[in-house]
């Protein structure tokens, strides 16, 4: 979502004039229709459902006002889930961006076989989160997983079924792995957009690769870094349910119960629609806030 918005902003800032009065409306109509059907309508349903208490079959419905929200915010476990989500998002964004940046800088220097490296690095993005989850689940299964076996050989008793830290590590790795590819693409594009003359001039002045990276490339990459930060946080907040579902089920205890997973579980396993809808509304508020921040920042600071 935020990704789309960012791209739209990018496009819309360049003024285009159409000769026909209705043509622009006609051209945006499909997008408007899609937004109405797949975003506005379900979102309004969630808002409506969040003030109701209803049984699974929809036979008895009762208006309860903000009771669903009040219950959520009086629940220490829900608040704890916020902290879990923030920790998780920060780790996913940090890990996936750092790894991607290192890979991008290295790939940027490669001359021979550059396309091969690039293709291989982008590959994991094509893997669905749930599949990635299952893959890592197998690797880290305490009994039969090869990664767990290797850790055991190194003297670390890996068991994400009992140890909350292990479980968090597992979902961060599984969620970041795929995102590295995405970040890599943007970083690489960003790096290649930096005029060669700048780095070459610095090189002539005697700046080493690290110095050139810190003083020239990184500052010029800052718009990309900021954009990716928002996108990655949004990803970690909203798209990682599949990873959690396939690996830890939110456990052990509540160690990996992130907000979006709880929404899914309460609705589709618990059939507790009111509470789940209220949680969706809270998440919706978060994504609106994140997008708003991004808008302001991009409008003011970033020049493309």
């Amino acid at each position: 979502m935020a990704r789309l918005v960012a791209l739209e902003v990018h496009v819309l800032t360049k003024k285009v004039t159409f000769s026909h009065r209705w043509l622009p409306y006609l051209l945006v109509a499909p997008q408007i229709a899609i937004t109405l059907v797949f975003f506005i309508w379900p979102a309004s349903q969630a808002l409506y459902q969040s003030v109701l208490r209803q049984d699974a079959f929809g036979l008895k419905t009762e208006y309860v006002g903000l009771a669903n929200f009040a219950k959520l915010f009086n629940d220490p476990l829900y608040l704890q889930s916020f902290y879990t989500t923030i920790t998780f998002s920060a780790l996913v964004a940090g890990v996936s961006m750092a790894v991607a940046l290192v890979l991008a800088v290295m790939a940027d220097r490669v001359v021979r076989q550059a396309t091969t490296y690039r293709t291989l690095l982008i590959w994991p993005y094509a893997v669905a989160p749930a599949v990635a989850g299952v893959l890592w689940w197998f690797l880290f299964n305490p009994t039969i997983g090869i990664a767990a076996y290797a850790l055991d050989a190194l003297g670390y008793d890996w068991n994400h079924y009992v140890d909350g830290g292990d479980a968090m590590t597992l979902i961060v790795v599984a969620a970041s792995w795929r995102q590295v590819s995405y970040n890599f693409l943007f970083f690489l594009a960003g790096l290649q957009a930096i005029p060669k003359s700048l780095t070459e001039a610095a090189a002539i002045d005697g700046a080493g690769p690290l110095k050139r990276f810190v003083t020239i490339q990184l500052p010029l990459l800052s718009p990309t870094v900021f954009f990716l930060l928002v996108v990655n946080v949004v990803y970690a907040f909203f798209e990682t349910f599949g990873v959690v579902h396939a690996t830890t089920d939110g456990g052990p205890g509540q160690a990996t119960t992130i907000l979006v997973y709880k929404v899914w579980r309460d609705a589709f396993q618990g059939l507790n629609l009111g509470s789940s809808a209220a949680q969706s509304v809270v998440l919706m508020a978060i994504v609106i806030a994140l997008t708003a921040i991004q808008f302001r920042f991009i409008e003011r600071k970033v020049e493309y």
Binding site: P42, A43, Q45, A46, Q49, R53, Q54, D55, A56, F57, G58, L59, K60, E62, L77, N141, P142, T143, I144, N159, Y161, V162, D163, G164, D249, G250, G251, P252, G253, Q254, R265, D266, A267, F268, Q269, G270, L271, N272, L273, G274, A277, S280
Partner: protein, 436 residues
Amino acid sequence: MTLTRSATAVAALMALGASPVAAETEIQFWHAMGGALGEKIEEIAAGFNETQDEFTVVPTYKGNYTENMTASIAAFRAGEQPHIVQVFEVGTATMMAAEGAIKPVQQVMDNADITWDADAYLPAVKSYYTTTDGALLSLPFNSSTPVLWYNRDLLDEAGIKDVPQTWNEMFAAADKLQASGHECAFSFGWQSWVMLENYLAWHDQPIGTKQNGFAGLDTELVFDESEDLTTLLQRIADSQEAGTFRYGGRRGDSLPLFTSGECAMWMNSSAYYAGISDQAEFEFGQAMLPVNTDAAETAQNSIIGGATLWVLEGHPESEYQGVAEFFNYLSSPEVQADWHQFSGYVPITTAAYELSNSQGFYEENPGTDTAIQQLSLNAPTENSRGLRFGNFVQIRDIINEELEDLWAGNKTAAEALSDAAERGNALLREFEGSNS
């Protein structure tokens, strides 16, 4: 919102897959049996369709239990519900609270023009799904119960002749195993079902008030009041230090611990028979669950897990005749015995059990009657008939979470159980509120 959306999708799919012109009335049957079991269901339906030419039963696989249930509910909300839907045992309270959406099986069978005997079903299976005044709500189909799976080779190596029958013997066996150099003695899966719900039924203790929820929505969980359960769970948690118990995750995730030979014993559903025979490269067997002699001298009876078939409202009366005929066919000794022997689920009628017995199935496959013996050990009491709590899928998640906190050493057994009961009770009140 998402429910309505998937309902629309389901409706659209159904419109797309519109059936060819058929003179026979179609009976839609949504189930959650994948793989070999799903093929078996196709086979059963085909068998029924051949016996008469008025109705055609169309089985459709809709994903796992929760997915199947959610899909059916969504379909109901969209007015496109199937006739028959397979629902797991913990969904019972949700289904039966949905008056106007479900048609009790008793009523379907009584209204139909067939001869049907409600007493043919095994009491321990049937009692889980009857109202307090004895009317059958849904048709038992695939039921299992937790048993003690053991690795004969490992027990022999440790010099353990008899499979442990009590919890004290379990820990004694662990000592022997460890003396012979084998660390992990036991593990279990579906911990809420095995170690809490079944433990309490097995020792004739209540899980909740109001006859475990059978007698009213104002039920409360009381499993935290069982001192012997608290002590046992604490003992199990403490035994992790010596490696006696190893926790292997929720549901059946701990199966590899047993099949890889890491843990000598494993407590979980009898329906793992096929899976274990497939994977285990050692001699294995199943025995009854251990008794905690601090709690009871002998065992009461265990309770079932698995699923039943529910009939949904909203179809022409004449079509329910087809449902009744199909149910009658499903319950016939031949079909049931075949299903039982193939799947490892318990036979749901006494006749099917006797037929399997006379066919020599239990002699050829020793231990395969453990589940049925456990279930029929004694006449079920209010504590061992089963349970009926609303929002129980979520409550099981809570129990999972709290027990994990116990295994991780974050909480004592007493804290974990009382927190689980407290959080569970909040959900029970919510269910009571939205269904009254």
